[in-house]
């Protein structure tokens, strides 16, 4: 069953209990109360009749570009709250970024939540509030959604799926297969913060750090980048698998080699320390506010400057180039000048002592 926000606010309501129960997923009034109070009121989406879908004026969309972009992403994270963000912020930013890296201007999001029974209502409220604030700040409304409650153990506290639509700018063509030898590879800041913050927030490793997730909505930054470098070949947010995964996809899809330089790869000193202690490689750590952008050489300087002029790109750097040697391979020139292959990982990176 699909309960679209917007639903008009009804009164009076019963006070909600302290935690979510299966009744809240039953389709009855308990569910409506939960949705109204936790989501509709928080998202303040809109007014109008309780419909099962959000509706858009096509003419208005078509004025912004010539193609529709459509994407979806599921968010599961343990813990739900971590330094620098929470699952709600992640779910909003993640989908906005997936639209933005396709050179699309995000228009609207949907949000489907799966709640494990027993989740404290305060937790749910605080996640919803975080989603609302993030969406508001980004200027991208959450216009429809769905709520399900499952039995204890059937999911881990809270799963969120967001779907987004956006309009792709006319005349901008980006694609992972479009990189050409000579192109310059840019990132918009220090790498690995999110992965390190999450690993640390789980607490099993008993390390104290000030590392925060870099979770951020990047459509504004990408606007600036695309304006400065309209010939941009491709952009990707470097989430799971980190920059290493994106570069490997790029090399494979474009049939090119990729050469990056360790000394040009920006990483915070505490993330480096964290990685040294645990034997991790920051290139494989997830980011939630970092993109890899490939730009033609003649637009590289303008692109880099545009990134650095944006608050979310102050640490931007050119980390390497696309080459015509060793197609399909990503090679890192190490700080000593040696070469090392940066391969895809088999699975998750695990802390090691050896």
């Amino acid at each position: 069953m699909n309960n679209a926000f917007p639903i008009p606010v009804r009164a009076p309501r019963r006070a909600l209990p302290k935690s979510v129960t299966l009744a809240h997923g039953g389709g009855g009034s308990a569910m409506r109360d939960l949705i109204d109070e936790v989501f509709i009121d928080t998202f303040k989406s809109t007014t109008g009749a309780p419909e099962d879908q959000a509706r858009f004026d096509l003419a208005a969309l078509m004025a912004q570009g010539d193609r529709l972009a459509f994407t979806t992403d599921g968010f599961v994270v343990d813990p739900l709250f971590f330094p620098g963000g929470d699952i709600g912020k992640l779910a909003v930013c993640g989908t906005i970024n997936d639209l933005a890296v396709g050179a699309a201007r995000p228009v609207a999001l949907s949000c489907a939540v799966i709640i494990e029974e027993g989740l404290p209502l305060a937790t749910l409220r605080s996640v919803a509030r975080s989603m609302a604030e993030t969406a508001h700040a980004a200027g991208v409304p959450i216009v429809t959604g769905d709520t399900k409650v499952v039995a204890r153990g059937a999911c881990d506290k809270l799963f969120i799926t967001t779907t987004g639509i956006g309009v792709v700018r006319t005349g901008i063509e980006v694609g992972i297969g479009r990189a050409r030898p000579g192109d310059v590879i840019l990132v918009n800041g220090q790498l690995g913060d999110h992965g390190a913050a999450i690993l640390n927030a789980r607490g099993d490793l008993a390390l104290e750090t000030a590392i925060e997730s870099d979770c951020a909505a990047l459509h504004g930054l990408i606007d600036a980048l695309v304006a400065a470098a309209p010939g941009v070949r491709t952009m990707r947010d470097a989430t799971r698998g980190g920059v290493a995964a994106v570069l490997n996809e790029l090399a494979a899809a474009s049939g090119v080699g990729v050469r990056i330089r360790e000394l040009d790869t920006p990483i915070r000193s505490d993330v480096l320390g964290f990685c040294e202690i645990l034997g991790l490689d920051p290139l494989y750590l997830a980011n939630e506010g970092k993109i890899v952008a490939v730009v033609p050489p003649d637009q590289a300087a303008a692109a880099l400057q545009a990134l650095r002029d944006h608050p979310l790109g102050r640490g931007a750097a050119a980390i390497g180039r696309v080459t015509d040697t060793r197609p399909g391979r990503v090679v890192m020139e190490t700080r000593l000048g040696g070469d090392r292959i940066v391969d895809m990982l088999v699975g998750d990176q695990l802390p090691r002592i050896c």
Binding site: Q190, A206, D264, I267, A317
Partner: protein
């Protein structure tokens, strides 16, 4: 085998249990200092010392003089080659538009 990393003892966490807080580049961890504590000496003397940490245990106090001696030998090798000064004054070419800011 045996990942180890230098860190600096910044505080004694528990004198009886011989636990100290060690800082590695801004990341802190409570480590066991039994192996580096001199019997009969005040543990507080270890604050500020650099130790080699392996799986939560300080295993060796890093000898500053030995480290400096090693580096001195290396610098002499470079000087004998007449290279170090040339390189320090920047014949290493930047890669592309500029080098990345890397926090230290």
């Amino acid at each position: 085998m045996c990942l180890g990393i230098p860190g600096r003892i910044v505080a004694i966490v528990d004198e009886d249990a011989m636990l100290a807080s060690v800082d590695v580049s801004g990341v802190r961890r409570t480590v066991d200092i039994v192996c580096v504590a001199e019997p009969g000496r005040d543990l507080g003397e270890l604050i500020g010392a650099w130790v080699l940490v392996h799986v939560g245990f300080a295993m060796s106090v890093i000898d500053e003089e030995e480290a400096a001696a090693t580096l001195k030998v290396l610098t002499e090798i470079g000087e004998a080659e007449g290279e170090i000064e040339a390189m320090r004054t920047g014949s290493v070419e930047p890669f592309h538009p500029s080098t990345a800011p890397r926090a230290q």
